[in-house]
Symmetry: C2
Subunit: 335 residues, 2 copies
């Protein structure tokens, strides 16, 4: 047992409690082969908060690039923070460097290890091209948003892009909202050493936004091995639900009208339906049947030329019964 | 006992848990004669975070005005957020409206009920003038930062400026870091109804930065009367220390070389020393003697023309013994 004494009543430094930053550094070394110093870590109340701090660090005059399709929320955070943010249309390997060049992007914000919503993983060759792009000019950086890389079901875990970076160009970020509970507002960034120093100088006067109580609790949770065990159990749980979903689809009468993709990681997969209906039509039919799903096309900043006919199926809250019910309703609509 | 069930695991809406916003509204009605709807309240992880959200709401193209002297941190938050922030030199009644006009201020951020570090209270006549100033033009607002108004020792509590405002021009803000503990990162803003609607539309996609667990705990703490009791006890405790400080000074040999002011509220007072020494000289002598105080002049954005010879004495952590020791050392330096 550690004795924290009065520390629970005192605010922590801008970066968070030392013991938590050390625990995160150990966790990153063990689980992601990422070797970082606790001094490079800044803990904050959620990723949206940390996006805002990164804008303060990297500059309001920079051009930010986000993925298209992608999370609308990230785009909205940038727009609400009054910086230029451009959506970059993905190709089959992820973000194309020539598109960054064309859009004059300084800061690329993306999720190379598991893109939302397509589930795509950026291959190493493309990662190296993107690193090359940001290394070409001073002031260019990559924000690697690794929000759900813990949930990978097939193949080896993919090392973060920051582990390829020898030039201090990649800012790694992750959150405990996905692995623990969304009510826990603890996320963190890992800054390259030079940026960590700059952060301290420019933004070190900010108080850490996470309560000390939560920080010490989480540090203990990580240090005593509970986080790893929890992730292990969750991964097992989600793998079972995922398999149940995929098997049910495979054995259903829908089977020849659909194809499934990007099912190896994350808590969702893509379901393409062979139909003439428009995406909006599909979704409104499903909604009327009580199935709330979104179409892949909803995640585009600029609508794709052709209908995607593809649904984003998030199965994190599903169970055997709800899968069965949903499937029956799907059959009724599409058969 | 209330049963929160799964709510502890779910994130709350952008503004915070309803039960906490209701508790804060009740508390404001009881203790500050401020009648607001819970829908006007936005809870966030600390005032600095909320300053940032207010900039997103009110605009990056606005000119922000802060008090001079004042908290450097507020100035630094605005500067780091890339907005124009001008320091307004105070006169004997606080912020002079003609200075706001001259500096083209859109948003005035100040503490009318207890200015830091002078302890000054803005009189009603000046409050009305300032309200008049912001009412003259669309897009002008006041941020009333009421961070330590709970600790008032003499006279009636001063109603917040928002209670004078019928035009929706005053944003009230306060924090629990001062009343409970600085490790608790919970602050809140009360928006005029029109701005509350705008907030929801523009920034409602943001997640609340305070963990649900903390929010439900604080709501219960307020609802069961613990906050009021705690403030009552703290006020009593601080009043005793303050009286001890003031009496000790009055009875010391220093008495004819000093004058004390602004001792009726907050957790500090001003100690003016009748000396020829410069402020920097005084502070470095005190520092060598192991007394860490700051000079009033340190809180100016632009240094005052004459030395203030005034120290800001924060007594919140003092006790009988430390007061005695400090006094002995002061006597050794100044007599």
């Amino acid at each position: 047992m550690l004795d924290f004494g009065n520390e629970l009543l005192l605010p922590t430094s801008y970066g968070g409690a030392k013991i938590l930053r050390e625990a995160i550094a150990d966790y990153l070394a063990d689980s992601k082969q990422l070797s970082v110093s606790p001094d490079q870590i800044v803990v904050g109340a959620g990723t949206e908060y940390l996006y805002g701090m990164l804008i303060r660090l990297l500059g309001y005059n920079k051009v930010y690039g986000v993925e298209d399709p992608g999370y609308h929320k990230i785009r909205r955070v940038y727009h609400s923070s009054h910086v230029i943010c451009r959506s970059i249309r993905l190709d089959k390997d992820g973000v194309p460097p020539q598109e960054l060049e064309a859009a004059n992007i300084d800061i690329l914000h993306f999720s190379p290890s598991h893109h939302f919503p397509t589930g795509m993983v950026t291959p190493v060759s493309r990662r190296l091209q993107l690193l090359d792009y940001v290394t070409q000019q001073k002031g260019r950086y990559i924000i690697e948003d690794d929000y759900d890389s813990e949930f990978r079901f097939v193949g080896k875990p993919i090392p973060p892009m920051q582990s390829l970076d020898s030039q201090g160009k990649v800012i790694y970020m992750n959150t405990f909202s996905k692995t623990l509970a969304p009510s826990i507002r603890i996320s963190y960034i890992v800054l390259p050493p030079e940026l960590a120093t700059e952060y301290q100088e420019k933004l070190g006067f900010y108080s850490c936004t996470v309560p000390s109580f939560e920080q010490y609790t989480l540090a203990r949770f990580i240090n005593q091995g509970y986080l790893e065990r929890h992730i292990y159990r969750m991964r097992k749980h989600y793998r079972e639900i995922r398999n149940l979903c995929l098997d049910s689809l495979k054995n259903s009468k829908l089977q020849k009208y659909i194809s499934v993709s990007e099912e190896d990681a994350g808590l969702h997969f893509l379901l393409r339906i062979h139909t003439q209906k428009s995406d909006a039509e599909i979704c409104s039919q499903l909604k009327r049947a009580g199935i709330r799903v979104s179409a892949l096309s909803e995640y585009y900043a600029t609508p794709p030329e052709e209908p995607t006919h593809t649904l984003v199926i998030n199965y994190s809250g599903a169970d055997e019964k709800s899968i069965h019910t949903a499937l029956e309703r799907l059959e009724r609509i599409f058969l």
